[in-house]
């Protein structure tokens, strides 16, 4: 069942088309990473899904309800973090969650229970009665995640949820997202952090110039990767002959002598073939001290897809 259904969605800003005939389905209980370069149309799509802006044409359904025509009903089971929202500085986290909880139909005991749980989860329990006006950007981002989860919605729509967080905060949010995924939330999340997406998402949707250029499972994309680069650090400078030998190894496309003690080997093939490549390298009598795949499958695909679409 598609819990998010986007159909021929288009949004123009004057003569600029930010989202171009975008169609996308997200199945219930899955986590989709929404990727694309700056200005690709990610945030515009998310803003349409959360009724912050309207679509020029097309439809967007949440739980089968068109958000462009019936936003109140469509957003009833949605929690969202769009950009870095600002909070009312005169309210405390508890008051903010109570306000939003009331608007979402929660009763007092529900609000109290969930507020305590969530403020503990996002590590703001010591700040629950302090006015938000004094909070840092990272604290606000954590509170934003807490408010999105407050009413235990079916759908979470997150726009770069780890923006503004320090490395520890990013790890914590990633852990929260992983646990939500395990609990069956449907999560649609835009991000620039490809390792994060590869680690926690089931599917990846890639967008550029407002058009969907790729939509598939992370596993399938990883297995589709044909191009791999291996960074090899050496104990001594390789000879020309050794480099020639390496370039003749099966599936090796290119060898770059980057610095005296390092070479990059570009090869075509399954990542699982790395072992045989390493064996052959050692056979050339090179003094290999490290052998590291460069980047992630998703990064490689991203770079390739975005380059192709430009």
């Amino acid at each position: 069942m598609e819990i998010i259904h986007v159909e021929s969605l288009t949004r123009d800003f004057g003569s600029f088309r930010a989202v171009d005939n975008l169609s996308l389905d997200v199945r219930n209980g899955t986590m989709v990473g929404f990727l694309g370069p700056n200005g690709a149309g990610k945030t515009t799509t998310i803003k349409i899904l959360t009724n912050l802006i309207s679509a020029t044409s097309g439809k967007a359904y949440l739980n089968g309800i068109d958000v462009t025509t019936r936003p109140k009903k469509a957003l009833a089971e949605v929690g969202s973090v769009v950009e870095t929202p600002e909070f009312y500085p005169y309210l405390t986290p508890i008051e903010t969650l109570t306000y939003l909880g009331r608007l979402r139909g929660m009763n007092s005991s529900d609000i109290n229970r969930r507020s305590s749980e969530l403020l503990a989860t996002v590590k703001l329990e010591d700040w629950k009665d302090k006015r938000i006006g004094k909070f840092s950007k990272g604290m606000k981002q954590r509170l934003a995640i807490a408010q999105a989860l407050l009413h235990e919605p079916e759908i979470l729509i997150l726009d770069e949820p780890t923006t503004g967080l320090d490395p520890r905060g990013m790890v914590e949010v990633r852990e929260i997202l992983k646990s939500l995924k395990e609990r069956g939330y449907t999560i649609f999340m835009s991000s620039h952090l490809l390792p994060e997406v590869q680690e926690i998402c089931d599917y990846v949707a890639m967008i550029d110039h407002g058009k969907l250029i790729l939509y598939d499972s992370v596993d399938k994309l990883a297995s589709m990767v044909k191009m791999n680069i291996i960074e090899v650090d050496l104990a001594e400078v390789p000879s020309e002959e050794s480099l020639n030998q390496i370039s003749k190894i099966k599936d090796v496309r290119n060898v770059q002598h980057v610095v005296p003690l390092r070479i990059d080997i570009e090869y075509i093939g399954d990542p699982n073939l790395r072992y045989s490549l390493l064996k052959e390298l050692l056979a050339t009598n090179l003094k290999v001290i490290s052998f590291t795949p460069q980047g992630l499958a998703l990064e490689n695909i991203y770079m390739q897809m975005i380059q192709d679409s430009r």
Binding site: G29, L52, I53, P71, P85, L91, G184
Partner: protein, 358 residues
């Protein structure tokens, strides 16, 4: 995959959400410097209006002695055959039964003089032109005049409230990016609008009520009585508040910055519209449909029993004519109601269309 964790909840009805928004908007005002600022302004203005006239030599009540310039009775008073001389006597706010006339230090019996109130004259049976004549009397400010002094500022207070509590109510959500928090909730924008408008209205009504209440108390304490048409004046004040607030929300839904909205609202209501009124008066045109002109009805309705009529004054020598216009109460009520409805409707329309593109 099914999600067994989700708790289905009933979305609150629109009216419940209106009250929720109103409650938290009021909390904003309660914790803001604007509310404290408004209360301080009220305290300052009430003190100044109340204290300054006596401090400058014009007490509200007291006893006065006026030396009278007595002349022989002129022709137009020939009808009063038993009197020989007269004196002009303005005797402002005379308390009835307190006038005593003394001639050369001795009291003149009341049977020997007569107060002709409609002409502000005192007639004397004897020829007192060569005597020293003094009128001693108690005076008190009449309750309507007392109230009018205070209500002229109540109109400005409404403009201040509208500016503080309404001018940036909508635009601040966009400028401060709090809309990213509020708008993706299951709530209609018109519900947000009504909730915010209600909060602005309640906060303003509280301030204006304090002002009226203190004015009435001061009138009672000072004069021992209160003008009877305060409720009508307050009714017009509420109508003016609604209309001005709707205009402020219209500006707030139109502009992109809080400062611009606040400045435009304040100057439009306090300067630009009154300037148009003034130009109209100078040209002999009654600006009846103008919001601020209709708003003056909250002041003049206090003197409902003696409602001022439009006047035309020829300035001596120059051929310049000065017009003084007063709003017609019934028409003003209709005009203010139309402003409130039309501007509120346009504001809702614009607010619904306003997008978070920044």
């Amino acid at each position: 995959m099914t999600n067994d964790r989700t708790i289905k909840r009933e979305i609150p009805k629109n009216l419940e959400q209106v009250f929720t928004v109103t409650k938290y908007e009021l909390l904003k005002y309660l914790r803001s410097k604007r509310l404290i600022g408004t209360i301080l302004i009220i305290a300052l203005i009430l003190s100044l209006i109340y204290i300054l006239p006596p401090a400058l030599g014009n007490p509200y009540t007291g006893e006065r002695e006026d030396a009278l310039q007595v002349s022989l009775k002129p022709e137009f008073l020939a009808f009063y055959t038993e009197f020989q001389s007269y004196a002009n006597f303005s005797g402002g706010n005379l308390v009835e039964g307190t006038l005593i006339i003394t001639v050369n230090g001795g009291e003149l019996p009341s049977s020997e003089w007569f107060l002709l109130e409609e002409f502000s004259l005192i007639l004397f049976e004897e020829n007192l032109t060569l005597s020293s004549v003094v009128a001693t009397y108690e005076f008190t400010t009449d309750t309507t005049s007392f109230g009018l002094n205070f209500l002229s500022f109540a109109e400005i207070l409404i403009i201040i409230c509208v500016t503080f509590f309404g001018a940036d109510a909508l635009v601040s959500e966009f400028q401060n990016r709090t809309a990213y928090l509020l708008f993706p909730n299951p709530i209609k924008k018109e519900v947000m609008f009504v909730g915010k408008f209600l909060a602005s209205f309640i906060a303003s009504v509280a301030m204006i009520s304090i002002y009226y209440f203190v004015t009435i108390i001061l009138s009672f304490v000072t004069l021992g009585e209160v003008a009877k048409h305060y409720p009508i004046s307050f009714g017009f004040a509420m109508l003016f508040l609604l209309a001005a607030l709707a205009l402020a929300y219209f500006i707030s839904s139109l502009l992109k910055g809080s400062t611009g909205a606040i400045v435009l609202t304040f100057f439009l209501l306090l300067m630009i519209l009154p300037i148009i009124e003034g130009v109209g008066a100078a040209s002999g045109v009654k600006m009846g449909p103008l919001l601020t002109f209709a708003g003056h009805s909250m002041i003049y309705s206090l003197s409902l029993d003696d409602y001022p009529a439009d006047t035309v004054t020829e300035m001596p020598g120059g051929g310049f004519t000065f017009h003084q216009f007063y709003p017609e109460l019934g028409l003003s009520a209709i005009i203010l109601a139309i402003y409130a409805i039309v501007f509120a409707a346009i504001s809702i329309f614009l607010f619904k269309r306003k997008e978070l593109t920044m």
